[in-house]
């Protein structure tokens, strides 16, 4: 770990301004991802701005009947919130499918959205990795890639975004609220938060330097059966090989997003037009552009079968 300085921000605007002006500054929330990366010197911030004490840890109802989830709300608290469990069950289910109880007690809403990939080569500083060291190459292509992405990937990077929570938020059409260094705020649709790698896999989000996430807003409940099915080699405490977040309405229409397959929560709205035709048709649309490796080709079939199981469960 490189030596760093540390301060507690006094307000969201203060945090954002400092993050923009102090070289090498980073926010720290739960620290469950950032600290691990710092120990391996994959991240080497010179200054940490602690955003835990800013009152961003509340879940409030919005005037239009939705929920505003503070950026610092812990994963455990969000999953357990009665309003979330009742009206946004897919989110609750996705959260408890992630990490472990101990980690969820500390992990925050914003930190979870911005956690970095679990590509094993990204985690080994001896290995070329375009995401960690732009231009050095991608070791995963042609290497061990069973866990990695099949769609939305590029010649430069095939890593996935590992979050479960984000997949549910994508299917719920959440909005990410931020404050920027000048103090201005903006709302980013979750679909636009994460970027595809293209030839700049190190640029992962549309956030500006110093931009602080203050909350994630969920629109008013859409009802339906809300399911999250995470497939993994062991029963708990493992990242998804494939996950399916789905909201299925009584008339058979609905929404689907996939986790574990792409550099961002993967949703193709056009594919949802085929919901009534079943999993095959929907997956065909979702993964039309899939370019799997030999190691992870099974994910395409697995996604289809998992969705089929989810749709069967939704039908009851």
């Amino acid at each position: 770990m490189r030596p760093f300085t540390y301060e507690r921000a006094t307000s969201p605007a203060d945090a954002s301004a400092k993050a923009a002006s102090i070289p090498g500054a980073r926010f720290i929330a739960g620290g469950t991802n950032l600290l691990d990366l710092m120990k391996l010197q994959i991240e080497t911030p010179a200054h940490l701005i602690d955003v835990n004490g800013l009152g961003l840890d509340k879940i409030e109802e919005t005037p239009d009947g939705g929920l505003r989830v503070g950026a610092l709300v812990r994963n455990t608290d969000l999953a357990a919130d009665m309003r979330v469990r009742r009206h946004y069950a897919v989110l609750s289910r996705a959260l408890v499918a992630g990490a472990s109880g101990q980690l969820r007690n500390v992990a925050t809403t914003a930190g979870n959205l911005l956690q970095r990939t679990r590509c094993p080569y990204f985690y080994d500083p001896n290995q070329p990795c375009n995401k960690r060291q732009p231009g050095s190459g991608c070791s995963a292509i042609g290497g061990v890639s069973r866990q990695l992405g099949v769609v939305g990937t590029s010649e430069a990077c095939i890593a996935t975004h590992p979050s479960d929570m984000a997949v549910a938020m994508r299917v719920l059409d959440a909005t990410v609220e931020t404050v920027r260094p000048g103090g201005a705020t903006r709302a980013i649709p979750i679909a636009e938060l994460h970027r595809l790698p293209g030839d700049t896999p190190h640029v992962e989000t549309s956030l500006e330097r110093g931009e602080l996430i203050t909350a994630v807003t969920l629109p008013k409940p859409v009802g339906g059966a809300q399911l999250y099915h995470k497939v993994r080699d062991r029963a708990s405490y493992a990242f998804a090989l494939v996950s399916v977040a789905a909201i299925v309405q009584p008339d058979g229409t609905g929404r689907v997003a996939l986790g574990g397959v792409a550099p961002k929560p993967w949703r193709v709205e056009a594919a949802e037009a085929h919901m009534k035709q079943g999993a095959k048709a929907v997956t065909a649309g979702l993964l039309a552009d899939a370019r799997p490796t030999d190691d992870n080709r099974f994910k395409v079939r697995l996604a289809e079968r998992t969705l089929a199981a989810v749709l069967a469960e939704a039908r009851g």
């Binding site: 490189r2 010197q41 985690y123 080994d124 001896n126 290497g143 069973r146 497939v231 062991r234 029963a235």
Partner: protein, 731 residues
């Protein structure tokens, strides 16, 4: 004490303490966090500095240039050790590659430097400033590709009985199948860790090591200093599984660092280093051929195994059990060793049998199916009470059939539908599988010292180790039983090279041999006690803290009223293990459910019925077996060190990438020990169980998956992608 005739009745047979389910005597220390593990021994020596190991970034080649200038002047840095300033180093008998690399690099993450600094973070930061230029060379990293160049390993000739080829060819029912097992990591909780301190030319290492005496010898050989100048102290070990049988880079680099820094240095391997810097269980390719009569009698059994290791390394002895487990007049076993430039392979819990049975016991399942026989019946039909390679050489005890019969009964095997993929519960495909478990019992000498003091306290000292297995407790039970005192009158001190040399912990030989050594010392102490108390006539009776003879009863403590009585002895063995084959047996039963949509495999029930001699402490023995069953489930379903075949290293080198079972993976586990005493094995009449529990489990899981789905996976681990394409169509 020489043990060369089967044990007669002896004080252990009283079973007042031995054989009773007993809580660990070191339990309170563990649960209060006060058991001193190597890295946390802040109190043993003052002024400890921190060392951080830099591992090689390439798998094979040379260091062409190393720039340590920036690291040396980094804040807090005291010293930097590399091959250039480490002096001439030897290599330990138990190491294949050098523990400190440079200029030649033999494997990925081989240590190339140690940075010593005031704090751990300073050392780690400075290690990142070392610039190493490598000249990489091409290496061999793919076992399948290297297979054809593999050769017979030194000391591991083929073994043949009768005419295997002829009998196999003539057999009316034949099986010829190839199985693979991947490289696996020990992944124990406590990393390799050492604090080293020099006092003049004397070196003390507080470390985590299963085999104290091997360790002393290998440190001596590596540092070129006399054994008597080395002290190894390792009283508590946070898991080893064979990964800590040997001196590793933490110990060597701490010793070198302490020398250069002129003060004590502590070093722990970071988790990412543990997979490529240390040893692992090597991958295997195994071909099994079985020929049988239509009635199911095996006439030919052949098992060939290919594995790889660094030059000078050893094969994974995966064919070992096939020489002994089943009858059959015509036999062939063979091992071939390929040179691979991956990190060095070595022992991991039940080396040989664990991966060997993962193949053999699936082959037996396949053969039973070909024969249209129940797999248990097939095994029982081919049971043997003598060494099938050496007819006339009996087993000391062999209750395999009983294990299988009892297991079948308890598990409800009769309810199993032998037709695969025929039981469905909702979205789950359900199946049962079984396998035989087999692991040899190894006897080896082991010494101990016992002291009786004026308070009647018995203190045992031996360099034996407790790697989490419960050794403290069974040694205390042995001493308590033999000396006729309650358990709380026994103190046990382990893991110090100043104590008499024991068998150490490995190969499931620890429990039987170390307690037999303690028994020998206690029997000697009893003689001193009798002499001291003037009980010369008949053998006195030791019970309830008293000694009685000829109508007199006196407190045991009285024998030490003029000063402590001390006795030291060792157990040594004659040739009973040549005359008799000594092994332990199990029947493993598993029920799995496979998600018919996703192929996810989840265990539902596990049962092991074990026959392993006298069970010294049923509570810790059960813990050993359920832990081993868990490890076997991991081997079956998820554990795999993923090899990057271009760059030559294990890619998933942390506990997020190298998956081992978590609680949610492990269902109800039941363990049954058959009532057995084995007077041929030792005066304790015990054998080992710590490895038996893993042997066969993987195959039982794979067989259950087959029964559930009809998919025969021959390449471990059995992951969902390997069954997915064969699952029922979805509507």
């Amino acid at each position: 004490m020489k043990f060369d005739t089967p044990a007669a009745a002896n004080p252990i047979d009283q079973l007042k303490v031995v054989g009773k389910a007993t809580d660990r005597i070191d339990g309170p220390l563990k649960t209060t966090g006060t058991a001193p593990y190597a890295y946390e021994r802040h109190d043993v020596v003052a002024n400890q500095a921190h060392g951080f190991i830099l591992g090689s970034a390439i798998a094979k080649g040379r260091i062409s240039r190393m720039d340590i200038a920036a690291a040396k002047v980094a804040p807090g840095v005291i010293a930097v050790v590399t091959a250039e300033n480490a002096g001439t180093l030897g290599k330990g008998k138990w190491n294949t590659a050098a523990l400190l690399g440079g200029p030649e690099i033999q494997h990925y993450h081989q240590a190339v430097a140690l940075v010593v600094a005031e704090t751990f973070e300073q050392a780690r930061d400075a290690a990142g400033l070392i610039k190493v230029d490598y000249q990489a060379e091409a290496g061999a990293y793919d076992l399948a590709a290297a297979r054809n160049g593999a050769t017979v390993a030194k000391g591991e000739p083929d073994s043949t009985v009768g005419d295997f080829n002829g009998a196999y060819t003539a057999a009316p029912v034949q099986l010829d199948a190839t199985y693979t097992t991947p490289d696996q990591g020990h992944a124990m909780m406590e990393p390799h860790a050492t604090i080293a301190a020099w006092n003049g030319d004397k070196l003390t290492l507080w470390t985590a090591n299963q085999m104290i005496n091997w360790g002393v010898k290998d440190v001596s050989q590596t540092l070129n200093i006399p054994e008597e100048n080395i002290r190894l102290i390792s009283p508590y070990i946070g898991g080893g599984f064979g990964g800590k049988l040997f001196v590793r880079s933490d110990a060597l680099m701490a010793a070198l660092g302490a020398k250069v820094a002129g003060r004590p240095v502590k070093v722990a391997l970071t988790r990412p280093l543990m997979f490529n810097n240390t040893t692992h269980r090597p991958a295997t390719i195994q071909r099994i051929r079985i020929g049988a009569t239509r009635e199911g009698r095996i006439t030919a059994i052949g098992h060939e195994s290919w594995s790889g290791d660094l030059p000078g390394g050893k094969p994974e002895t995966a064919v070992q059990q096939t020489r002994l487990l089943y009858a059959g007049a015509n036999r062939l076993t063979a091992m071939r060793l390929a040179v691979l430039d991956l990190p060095e392979g070595n022992a991991m819990r039940a080396p040989g049998e664990a991966p060997g049975l993962m193949a053999l016991e699936v082959a037996m399942d396949e053969m039973a199916e070909k024969l249209g026989m129940d797999p248990i019946q097939f095994r029982i039909l081919n049971d043997t009470q003598e060494d099938p390679e050496k007819p006339g050489r009996p087993y000391s005890q062999r209750q395999l059939t009983e294990c299988l019969r009892q297991g079948a009964e308890r598990f409800g095997w009769a309810k199993r539908d032998p037709k695969p993929a025929s039981v469905r519960e909702g979205r789950w495909l359900v199946g049962m599988g079984m396998a035989a478990g087999f692991r040899n019992n190894l006897v080896t000498k082991s010494a101990a010292r016992v002291r009786l003091d004026g308070q009647g306290m018995v203190t045992v000292e031996t360099d034996m180790t407790d790697i989490g297995t419960g050794t403290y407790t069974i040694i205390a039970q042995t001493a308590a039983e033999t000396m006729g005192v309650p358990l709380d009158k026994v103190a046990v001190r382990l893991g110090d090279s100043n104590f008499p040399v024991s068998c150490g912990s490995g190969g499931q030989w620890g429990a039987n041999n170390s307690t037999a050594g303690v028994y020998a010392a206690c029997m000697k102490l009893r003689q001193s006690v009798a002499r001291k108390l003037g009980f010369n006539a008949a053998e006195p009776h030791f019970a309830d803290g008293h000694v009685s003879s000829g109508g007199h009863t006196v407190p045991l403590a009285q024998a030490a009223k003029d000063g402590d009585l001390v006795a030291e002895d060792q157990i040594e063995y004659g040739d009973l293990d040549k005359k008799y084959q000594q092994s332990t047996f199990a029947g493993h039963f598993v029920e799995v459910a496979v998600d018919s949509a996703t192929g996810e495999i989840r265990l539902r029930r596990m049962l092991a019925v074990c026959a392993a001699g006298r069970i010294l402490n049923p509570k810790s023995a059960r813990s050993q077996v359920i832990g081993a069953m868990t490890m076997g489930a991991g081997a079956a379903l998820m554990e795999e060190l993923a090899v990057d075949k271009r760059r030559g290293f294990f890619v998933n080198h942390d506990l997020a990438g190298y998956e081992v079972p978590v609680h949610a993976d492990i269902p109800h586990q039941e363990v049954v020990f058959l009532d057995e005493v084995d007077p041929i094995s030792s005066p304790m009449k015990a054998k080992g169980v710590g490895e038996l529990g893993i042997c066969g489990v993987g195959a039982a899981v794979a067989n259950a998956v087959y029964n559930a789905t009809g998919v025969r996976v021959r390449d471990y681990p059995v992951t969902l992608d390997k069954v997915l394409d064969h699952l029922p169509e979805m509507t």
